[in-house]
């Protein structure tokens, strides 16, 4: 039951499948459970940040603070556990609260004072990164039984980071498509004026969107902390660009109002696959890696554009 408006999404998915197939044909050992689990596991934190970003972009905004939030969260948790011997769960909950609070404050600046999201979140990015550095410039390894247990669980059963990511994807799908808030986000991104005249609480939705993104990026920071069992204030540098790229590749329009959470997940997988392909290739110098990523981004955007215009042409007829 693919309706017309799902064609771009289906096309993105098809392109991913083909990309993955092409890589599998080209590289020995690429088509394996290991590579695919790695794909999810290695990109879980990026995926979490990108999901928060999806909502922000759907609402017509942008959040540059996600990468810095990851750095802040990871160093915050590590310091709490290692230096102040706080219970890990308490530290995690506190980190989530701080992340949401910071997101909410940026949301307030955007909703109440009409600051452009780019600016408010840029200030947020400086702030979060700076606070992280103030807490500790040095990275801190975490030696806690709790984290050890998570790791062992991941080894024996399934990586916790992936589980968290997939759970959040499901929740995000539900929020986007089955809650008033989710539809409100689409409406605000589609036309803010209309949404207001239709009686939607535009300010509240905006604040909630940034709170959600703050929460997601704090969660991403926690997953990063689990992923590396350490805290590092410089973690997640320029990650916001990767997150934006994933959202865009997933078919969400930066102008807001159009896009899918599921698309973002595919976008993450595509970015991850490209990266894995480059590693498997193994001979690209630093500069060629950058050029290759830029080139593939370009190729992909054109491909997507092509498919979308095709799909739209089809619906018009």
């Amino acid at each position: 039951m693919i309706s017309k408006k799902h064609i771009p999404l289906a096309a993105t998915l098809a392109v991913f499948a083909l990309l993955y197939a092409a890589a599998s044909v080209s590289f020995e050992g690429f088509f394996s459970v290991r590579v695919f689990t790695n794909l999810l596991n290695d990109n879980a934190f990026l995926g979490l940040a990108a999901i928060g970003m999806t909502f922000v972009i759907l609402s017509g905004g942008i959040d540059l603070s996600v990468g810095a939030m990851i750095g802040f969260t990871s160093i915050f948790i590590a310091t709490m556990i290692q230096r102040y011997h706080v219970n890990p769960i308490v530290a995690i909950v506190a980190a989530l609260a701080i992340g949401s609070l910071l997101g909410a404050s940026m949301g307030c600046l955007i909703a109440w004072f009409k600051l452009p999201p780019f600016l408010a979140t840029l200030a947020g990015m400086f702030f979060a990164r700076g606070m992280g550095l103030i807490i500790s410039m040095e990275s801190i390894p975490i030696k806690s039984g709790f984290f050890k247990a998570i790791e062992t669980f991941g080894y024996n059963f399934y990586p916790v980071t992936t589980i968290v990511f997939l759970a959040v994807v499901l929740i995000a799908l539900y929020v986007a498509h089955f809650t008033k808030f989710g539809r409100g986000v689409y409406a605000v991104g589609g036309s803010e004026d209309s949404a207001m005249l239709m009686g939607l609480p535009v300010s509240r939705i905006k604040i909630m969107v940034y709170t959600l993104s703050g929460f997601c990026s704090a969660l991403a920071g926690i997953v990063y902390t689990i992923y590396t069992t350490s805290g590092n204030a410089t973690a997640g540098t320029t990650l916001e660009m990767d997150a934006i790229a994933a959202v865009v590749i997933g078919g969400t329009l930066l102008t807001g109002g159009v896009g899918y959470v599921a698309g973002t997940v595919v976008g993450i997988l595509i970015l991850g696959t490209i990266q894995t392909m480059i590693t498997f290739e193994g001979t690209l110098s630093s500069w060629w890696t950058r050029i290759a990523i830029g080139g593939l981004l370009l190729l992909f955007i054109f491909l997507q554009r092509f498919i979308q215009t095709r799909a739209q042409g089809a619906t018009r007829k």
């Binding site: 008033k180 539809r183 589609g190 036309s191 209309s194 005249l197 009686g199 939607l200 159009v258």
Partner: protein, 518 residues
Amino acid sequence: MRRGAYRLAEEIKQIERDAGDAPLLEIRGVCKSFPGVKALENVDFTLKRGEIHSLMGENGAGKSTLIKILTGAYRRDTGQITIEGRRIDPHSPLEAQAIGISAVFQEVNLIPDLSIAENIYLGREPMAFGRIDWKRVHRGAEAAMRRLDLDIDVGQSVRSCSIAVQQLTAIARALDVDARVLVLDEPTSSLAAHEVEKLFAVMRKLRGEGFGIVFISHFLDQIYEISDRLTVLRNGKLVGVHAASDLPRLELISLMLGREISEVEETSAGETRKEEIKPFLKARGLSGGVVKKMDFEVRPGEVLGFAGLLGAGRTETAQMLFGIDRAASGTVEMDEEQVRTASPRRAIEKGIGFCPEDRRNAGIIPNLSVRENIVAALQARRGWLRRLSIKKQREISAEYIKMLSIATTDAEKPVAHLSGGNQQKVILARWLALQPRLLILDEPTRGIDVGAKAEIEKRIKELCGGGMSIIFISSELEEVVRDSHRVVVMREGSKIGELAGGDISLSSIIKLIAEKEV
């Protein structure tokens, strides 16, 4: 805040049960000022239960401001609003809705990329098991649209629908929000005649159910057809409240305009001529989109009317001619020479101007000044190097502000601050400044008041006298009849006939349109 409003609504319902024939809505002594403008001065307005009450007035009379205060989009400076004797003070459209006031605005306010169903239920989706019950949303939306006799796929996105369907969607939403007071601000301006009838039927039904409806329209026929009472505003002041049956049309117009009645009396198209003059533009077999094989000719100094129902392909034909849409096939000849208008820029070079139907999105450049809006096309034609000096720009804008009597205190004011009618005149001025050979006017009188309308019509005639040709597209057949020297009648993308001179009449056009449809 919201809970308060809800409680208020409950209390109102209580009072409703007690109250007898008290007015549903009462506005008393409302004032509202904007920087430099007194938009409303001490205005009163009452709406009874089961009444359709038209709010009349020219552009800038204060109708929109009053509506916006009523729906919580603006805050009033002074005065009070009561619903059934209960004072209310809506801070936002949301609160107004909770109190029971719902509005449909002139410019359709929907979310274009969401579906019809989603738009109807946005913000009040029925929930089941903690999730939106999409089945109920769809069923409900279908029912709401059927109430307006529209049987369409409510899952399609609003963007893909015609403006008429968008308008009806907005109305369906307003009706569905459990409103007691329904405000319809120019709801009919993009509707075809049968759609208007449908809407009126719905309005009458609602009136029977005890709703109070505030109706705004610039179609006087419609006003008289549907209204019980009329409130007339002029320049932000109340000038009269009358029963519709007691107020002759001419008297109403004079109330609105504050002029002598004789001045606004309709003038006829005058003598027909130009039949012998050779056409300078010939379109042959123009096709693309909904348009199929359009042939037409334009002669110097004539008004060529395009008549037809909504979706007949009038706008689409004009857009092809102006290079906005690309024609799939067909040719355009100017002065015996084939021309290709691949972009508006090219068309302008060939001496064609186009006043688009969608003023807000395709017409005005909102934050730029009136002056810059007027000279935009002229400057674009001159290119970026040959810039008009500020002095020259001022001269040009002053000239057209005067010529078209554009009501603005200052040519440097952002055009967004002007009323709709004046914005329309600014766009007209933009094209006149170019002195084009052919000017396409797509619904130039939509949503503007009688006075401005009359002025624009008068201007059209003058321009033709000066040798300019005009393609005139309007949903108001009377206007087309009144102003055109020839009329191309279209249906479903094709030309089905052409009328000239004395043959042009309402009945002849309608007959043509209706002919094959039987």
